[in-house]
Structures are given as structure tokens and as C-alpha cells.
Amino acid sequence: MSDTNSSTAAVLIPHINIPPITLRRRVVDRAMTGVAALTVVVVLVPLFAIFAYLVYKGIGSINVAFLTQTPKPVGEAGGGMANAIVGSMVILAIASLLGVPLGIGAGIFLSEYGRNRYGDIVRFVSDVLNGVPSIVIGIVAYGLVVLPQKHFSALAGGVALAIMMIPTIARTTEQMLLLVPQAIREAAYGLGVARWRTTLSITLRTATSGVITGVMLAFARVAGETAPLLFTAFGNQYWNWKTDQPTAALSLQIFTYAISPFDEWHRQAWAGALVLIVLIVAAVAAVRIAVKHGTLAGA
């Protein structure tokens, strides 16, 4: 009803009949505020429940053996996930080596060369890539790496995760580079600095902390991924230092243990989940600190 009012209101201000705020409207207003606040509570409950349960269940099961030993056969107590922790790190390192340069390059393209139709295509495609289910990426990496190699491998897992990192990194890098004022680029050009040099040493350097935040976002997103590793890295009960052999990963191990019928394995799954989250947070925090205080500090 106020839709029709709004057009006439400007003309008729002195005589407008503002409807009184009746008790009913007041009650509805309060009630809706209450409902909205309630939704926040409802949403936050699972969050705290998950973290609380994770810490409660996980802390008791983490010990030196868990962090230094490989899994024990079914039925034997003890053992740990050391090989899975290292395996996850190897896979993530491969993924970062492949995905980060390509993603940042695509981001530079989008912001410095892609303010046109071609850029729009790449922008749209990377947004679409972002929504491809991770399990489908796993199939692609399987066909791309596992089949030719005839092996499940850490490399295949790394490729799958790299494919997932690229679109996120590209889009955040683009946004961060666009925030760098045009005048700074022009100042460099004005001094006769070549364009490639300007992009790398001026624009990218100014945006360093933002770009790294984007990279860490992508990293954190893929660090806990399980689905694309199921048939690429595959998992392994033993130590493996070769990148062309099946490799254990923390998330895979958690999955295997969680759906198993053994209490001992359930306990270890909780411990693994806690370690996984702590490691992700630690990695992100470490890079943040390095950006702020260390050698990576931007201009």
C-alpha cells in the first residue's frame, strides 16, 4: 500500500496522512526483530557445537604416538597419522606450486589486460569453475594424471587441488590489483618504468598483502578437501616419499576412520580433524605474520 503513497508523498507533504503506528505494527516489528535475532542464534549453535565437540573429543586423543607413528592394523590400539599429516603437506605443496603462479597470472591478466570482452569471458569462466563440484575435479585429475601414470599419486591429488585453487586466486588477485590507484601505475610509467616491471614491482607489490590473503583463502578452502583426493591421492597406510605413488592425506584418513565401525578409529578421526583444522589455521596465521613483519612485507 505504501507503494502508491511513495509517488504522491513528495507533492503532498503538508497534508499527507501518515498512518499511525498501531500496536499491531509495533508488535510485528518487534517480533520480526526477535525472529531475525533467533536465526542468528540457531545458525551459531552448530558452529559452537562443532568446535566444542571437536576440541573435547580431539584433545584427549592427540599424543606423541598420534603425531609420529603410522596407522596400526585393525584391532591394535595406538598408532597415528604422521604419514597422513606429511602426505597432506606434500599434496598441498604441489597444489600451491602449480596453482598459485597460474592463479596470480590469471588475476594480473584480468586486472591489467582484461578490462574488455576477453576479460569478461575469463571472469565468467572462473566464477563458473569455482562452482564445479570438487568430486568432478577429482574425476578430471584421474583422467589427466592417474590414467597416463597408471598410479594413484600425490601429483594427481596436487593437480586436482590446484585446479580448485586457480579460480579463487585469480578473482581475489584481480580485485586486489584493481584497488591499487591508477595514479601509482601512471607515476611509474611517468618515470619510464616498463609496463611489466610496473605490474610486478609496483602494482603487485602494493597489493601484496591482499593477494596473499586471497591465496591463503584458496589454500584453506582446498586444505580440508577430501572428495577430489579419493581417487587421485588414494591414501596409504605407510610412509611414502615418492610423488608418483599413492599418498596418505589427513582428510582421507579422517573419512576412512569415521565410517569404520571401530571406536579406536573414531577417536583417531576426531584427533585427525582437530589436527587438520589447527594446521590450516596455523598455516594461514603464519603467512599472515610473515606478510606483516617478515621479508614478504609489501610496500
Binding site: 503506528i21 552448530p46 571437536l54 574425476i139 609496463r195
Partner: protein, 344 residues
């Protein structure tokens, strides 16, 4: 304006001033201050290297399509469209039909939307319109934290906390009150379609609510002020001035959430029960396209079996692509004109 002052030959400024071809031609004759032509080759090299990176993103999508299409050829030739119409999934007799998986994916995703949409819109409205400004940052950070938990950890929590709660309290309650609909009948296992829907809802709430928040903040302040000036209460202002204008964007956010729910694998696989049957009751176990891939891909022995699984992957890929593209366009239709910030 500063174009005239630029000494670089063939300078192509990114940003609003680009496109003045005439200026650039004249400038090409100006003498550069430093380095001269030395930088031309590295410049060209760098430019093309970056373009290659951009191209790689597009190529990646092409590669995904190629892999899936080639991989599923065998199954496509064997079953054709019938693949999506029959519900028989039998590796022993090499008969494959994707219907139960499609049903499971669609029902679990829709169920999660039913739960997640009102909650996420409520959260977004509360954070942008109602909550004290001091609390705003903390609340949005905390809700976004939900998105940072790995899927497998959600699954773990669902198996050991959510499912027992559903089994002991929620399912008996639903069966008593809504059992007559037929949606909530049968033995309350805990594990099943309902559990999958609930855990999916928890997982997509941060996505829907953060994009909805993005859309709501784009609504101009004077819209709100205008409605308030007409004597609206705060809720009426939100309903008429904010939510109505943000409709398309909110629908886009919901569809993006749907896209995420359709492709979600691990948490669903861990609680849905993994039985390829179509049952009316939400208490019954089901199976989704993503979880059949997760469970059976490494065990697929025959070529046709593997090909059928890849075809399910292709279908899943296709559906999520369409859903995501649709959602992006809808979100863009609201936020366009604003600096393209963090819609991702």
C-alpha cells in the same frame, strides 16, 4: 587527462581512460625517457604470458568438459537417454540407471534449501539492518567461519552428534506430528535423507547469508530513508525498502547455495545411508550423484561401470554449471554498477 603526459609508447592504460586509439598513435612517436625500445620485447613477452594464464582458466574448463565427455562415451552409447530414466543400478549385470542418484541429489538439496534459506536471510537481515554496529563485524566473521570447516569434519560431527540427536528426538517428534504426510514415516534410523538435508543446510548457510548480505548492503541508503520517512516501522522498511529491491540478488544467492549443495560430497556420503532407492519418506536412506562417485569410483571394475560413473559426473557438472551461471547473472543484476567487490 594524464594520457598526454605519458612517455610510454603504445601505452594502453587499464581503467576508464582506455580506448582513445587516436591519442596513442600520436604518442607512439614521443621519445621515451628511459630504456627506450629495450622494454618492448619483455613487455610483449610479459603481456602474452599473462594472457596465457587467463587463457589457461578457459582451457581448464574445456579440459574438464573433454575429460568427462570422452570418459562417459561408452555408457552414453550403451544407454542413451535411458540412463537418466531408469532406476536399476547393478554392476553385476552391467545395468546402470542414474535415477535414484538424481532423485537423492535433488531431494537432499531442496530439503537443505527449505531449512537454510529462511535462516540465512534472517541472519543477513539481522547483521545488515538490525544489529548494533559494534557487533556486526564479529557476527559476520563468525558465520563465515562455518564455511571454513572442511566438509569431512562436518560429516564426522554429523555421524556422531547430529544423527543420534535426530534419531532420539527429532525423528520421533516429526513422525508423531507430521507422520500423516507420509514424508516422515518408517523406522527412525537417524541416518538418511533428513540427516543429509540438515547437514547440507548447515554447510550452505554461510554462502547464502554472506552473498545476501553483500546484496543488501548495495541497496542505496536513501531507499531506506524514504520508506522510514513515510512512517514505516523498521520491519516495514526492511520488507518494502530493502528485501523487495534485493529480490533478484537474494534469489541468486539461494541458487548459488543450491549449486554448492548439489555438488557437496563428503558430509552427505557419510550420513545419507548410500542405498540407491527412491523412497517417499525422508527418514529412508538414499544416495546422491556425488556420493556414488565417492564410494564406487575406485572400485569400478568394468569399463562400462567406470563410464557410467563418469556420465553421472558429467550430469552433475552440467547441472551445477547451469545453476551457477544462472545465479551469477542474478547476483550481478543487482550489484552491477558497484565496484565488483567480493561477490565470490
Amino acid at each position: 587527462m594524464s594520457n598526454q603526459a605519458l612517455p610510454r609508447p603504445r601505452f594502453n592504460a587499464p581503467g576508464p581512460e582506455r580506448g582513445s586509439k587516436a591519442d596513442l598513435k600520436i604518442e607512439a612517436r614521443a621519445t621515451p625517457l628511459l630504456q627506450g625500445k629495450v622494454s618492448e620485447i619483455p613487455d610483449a613477452f610479459f603481456g602474452w604470458a599473462m594472457r596465457l594464464c587467463g587463457l589457461a582458466v578457459v582451457a581448464l574448463l574445456g579440459l574438464i568438459v573433454y575429460q568427462l565427455v570422452v570418459g562417459s562415451e561408452l555408457s552414453w552409447h550403451a544407454f542413451g537417454w535411458k540412463f537418466f530414466g531408469q532406476s536399476d543400478w547393478n554392476p553385476v549385470s552391467d545395468q546402470y540407471g542414474a535415477l535414484p542418484f538424481m532423485y537423492g541429489t535433488i531431494v537432499s538439496s531442496l530439503l537443505s534449501l527449505v531449512i537454510a534459506v529462511p535462516l540465512s536471510i534472517g541472519v543477513a537481515v539481522f547483521i545488515t539492518e538490525m544489529c548494533p554496529t559494534g557487533l556486526r563485524g564479529t557476527l559476520s566473521f563468525t558465520t563465515e567461519l562455518l564455511a571454513a570447516i572442511p566438509s569431512v569434519v562436518y560429516g564426522l560431527w554429523a555421524i556422531f552428534v547430529l544423527v543420534p540427536i535426530l534419531r532420539a528426538y527429532v525423528q520421533p517428534f516429526l513422525a508423531r506430528t507430521l507422520g500423516w504426510t507420509g514424508l516422515f514415516s518408517g523406522p527412525p534410523y537417524g541416518i538418511g535423507m533428513l540427516a543429509a538435508g540438515v547437514i547440507l543446510a548447515i554447510m550452505i548457510i554461510p554462502i547464502i547469508s554472506s552473498i545476501t548480505r553483500e546484496v543488501l548492503t548495495v541497496i542505496p541508503q536513501h531507499q531506506r530513508e524514504a520508506v522510514l520517512a513515510l512512517g514505516a516501522t523498521r520491519w516495514e522498511m526492511i520488507r518494502m525498502g530493502v528485501l523487495r529491491n534485493a529480490r533478484a540478488g537474494i534469489v541468486g544467492a539461494v541458487i548459488l547455495g543450491l549449486g554448492r549443495a548439489l555438488g557437496e560430497t563428503m558430509a552427505v556420503t557419510m550420513v545419507i545411508g548410500n542405498r540407491p532407492e527412491i523412497a517417499k519418506s525422508l527418514f529412508a536412506p538414499g544416495y546422491t550423484m556425488a556420493s556414488v562417485l565417492a564410494n564406487e569410483f575406485t572400485e569400478a571394475t568394468g569399463n562400462l561401470y567406470l563410464s557410467a560413473l563418469i556420465e553421472i559426473g558429467l550430469a552433475l557438472f552440467f547441472v551445477t554449471i547451469v545453476v551457477n551461471a544462472l545465479a551469477r547473472l542474478m547476483v550481478w543484476s543487482v550489484t552491477r554498477g558497484q565496484p565488483a567487490r567480493s561477490i565470490a
